[in-house]
């Protein structure tokens, strides 16, 4: 087991309610790695991500995420696991009742930051990182989809997580904006964080190839990067 190992799933069965969605899921992720999870709608991409952040309980198999054993994790520990994971949603999920700055400061205060100057500096930093340095006072609904998604990425970066989980981050965006977001995520993985991105945006995948895991018919398989992925078969 390498020191860089950050996620290690071994023979995990993923259930949604009582339905078995994926069986015997095994894969591991190292720091700084970029991984696509692809598959049809309903094939279990989101369920894998929800298992990793302990939204779905682990029922069988073993899973190690950022030092937490998901088999034995207690309810009280789940928030602390999630602080090591930055999460990016398809539907953004910003707190609609407060502005961008307060959205970000909520996360910082929730994770134990006390000093106001530190909080303000950190928010400044991450907003710069996603090119939104001057928009902190805006309400989420006043931003475009791409901007909101960048805010969500900024939020995911706040606590320097080891892993970024991105569930269809480009699902609601136009192709150009999607590319921007993907570049941003690639850049983030370049700085030593693992990025796991569930997507069905195959043109993008073709343009920015990386390690790819495919969910199909209740199983996952690694797709050979060098081989041409049969996109038409994935589309139907």
């Amino acid at each position: 087991m390498s020191l860089d190992l950050i996620i290690d799933l071994n023979k995990v069965n993923i259930l949604q309610g009582d339905n078995l969605i994926l069986s015997e899921v095994s894969f591991s992720v190292n720091k700084g790695e970029f991984i696509y999870i692809i598959g049809k709608v309903g094939s279990g991409k989101t369920s894998i991500i929800r298992t990793i952040n302990a939204e779905l309980p682990l029922r069988s198999g073993t899973a190690l995420v950022a030092g937490y054993d998901l088999e034995k994790i207690r309810k009280r520990q789940v928030p602390y696991l999630r602080r090591k994971l930055g999460i990016v949603f398809q539907d953004f999920q910003l707190l609609g009742d407060r502005n961008i700055y307060d959205n970000l400061s909520f996360v910082l205060r929730a994770t134990g930051w006390k000093n106001k100057a530190d909080i303000s500096n950190r928010i400044e930093e991450v907003l710069q990182r996603v090119d939104l340095g001057y928009k902190g006072y805006k309400m989420p609904h006043q931003l475009s989809g791409g901007e909101q998604q960048r805010v969500v990425i900024a939020r995911a970066l706040l606590n320097n997580p080891d892993v970024i989980l991105a569930d269809e981050p480009t699902g609601n965006l136009d192709p150009e904006t999607s590319e921007d977001i993907l570049r941003l995520l690639l850049e983030i993985s370049g700085s030593g964080r693992a990025v796991i991105m569930a997507t069905h945006n195959y043109p993008l995948l073709k343009k920015f190839p990386a390690r790819t895991i495919k969910c199909d018919q209740g199983r996952i398989m690694e797709v050979d990067q060098t081989a041409e992925i049969d996109f038409t078969s994935l589309m139907d």
């Binding site: 928030p79 999630r82 602080r83 009742d97 909520f106 996360v107 929730a110």
Partner: protein
């Protein structure tokens, strides 16, 4: 830009104001019922302490003995007040009542001197009066103890019935109010269930998510209670002007206590309802939020 933010804030505030007003109206009803129950007790005490009985004395009793008996009665724990009525005084009172000069008609005064006794409300019931009657009859020079048995019985029965109905009614209203307040709060938390879920997913602990909800709702409970108290104060003030004898508190302490308990009730019920409402959505899985 800034203006839009203000619009959002104003909308949020107006939704808060609506829930504060509905909670304050319910607290107002609760307070009003408590006020009525407390007053009913005052009222029944007032009626009961006005029930009196007469201790008819021997005709040839000496002044000293009368004073001794009166003193003895005054010292008893159940006696609120006594009044000595002389033969002459009794004659004048009877004359006024009959409107006829019966002494010149009869040629003598047939009345006996007596002592009128008012009891404290707690002893003004048929059972106690019977015991007291026996007690007093032991005194020398006492001819008889006279009171209207049926009146005592009737007053007691009616007071008991009325206060039972009033208490039952106010308990029911309290229950209704509490459940409506609980519902109001649950709705306002329900509207924020996705926000609660997002907070969970970015790594906030349950206590951290709950805290601002609790503080805000406690503050809202406080505002609602203050509003309810203001309404109640206005109403009591107006009623007291019209029926000073029947309704109203003359003692500041009881009013203060009532107002204070309304404030406490407002804060506590809001806090508890919010706690359970938020906890419900903290426990819920993401998929269940859509139902």
């Amino acid at each position: 830009m800034k203006k839009d933010q203000k619009v959002v804030k104003r909308r949020l505030r107006s939704s808060y104001i609506i829930s504060i007003i509905s909670i304050s109206l319910l607290l107002f009803i609760v307070g009003l019922m408590v006020f009525l129950v407390l007053n009913a007790r005052n009222l029944s005490e007032y009626v009961m302490e006005n029930i009196s009985f007469s201790v008819i004395l021997d005709e040839d009793i000496r002044e000293v003995d009368i004073i001794r008996i009166q003193k003895n009665l005054d010292a008893a724990e159940y006696v609120k007040s006594t009044r000595y009525i002389t033969k002459e005084r009794a004659a004048i009172e009877l004359e006024e009542m009959l409107g006829e000069d019966f002494i010149s008609f009869l040629g003598y005064n047939p009345l006996s001197p007596s002592i009128e006794v008012n009891l404290f409300a707690a002893w003004a019931n048929p059972d106690s009066i019977q015991v007291i009657e026996k007690d007093i009859q032991q005194f020398s020079y006492v001819q008889e103890v006279y009171y209207q048995k049926s009146l005592v019985h009737l007053v007691n029965e009616n007071v008991r019935k009325i206060s039972m109905i009033l208490t039952g009614f106010s308990l029911m209203l309290l229950l209704i109010s509490l459940s409506l307040i609980n519902n109001t709060i649950r709705l306002s938390v329900y509207a924020r269930r996705f926000i609660i879920n997002t907070m969970k997913l970015v790594g906030a602990t349950n206590a951290f998510i709950r805290r601002p909800f609790l503080y805000k709702s406690a503050a809202h409970g406080f505002y609602a209670a203050v509003l309810a108290n203001a309404l109640m104060f206005g109403l009591i003030y107006m009623v007291q002007k019209e029926f000073a004898d029947l309704l109203g508190f003359n003692d500041i302490q009881t009013i203060g206590l009532l107002f204070l308990s309304i404030v406490l009730l407002g804060i506590v019920i809001n806090w508890i309802s919010t706690f359970f409402a938020v906890s419900r959505y903290l426990r819920m899985k993401t998929d269940d939020l859509y139902y």
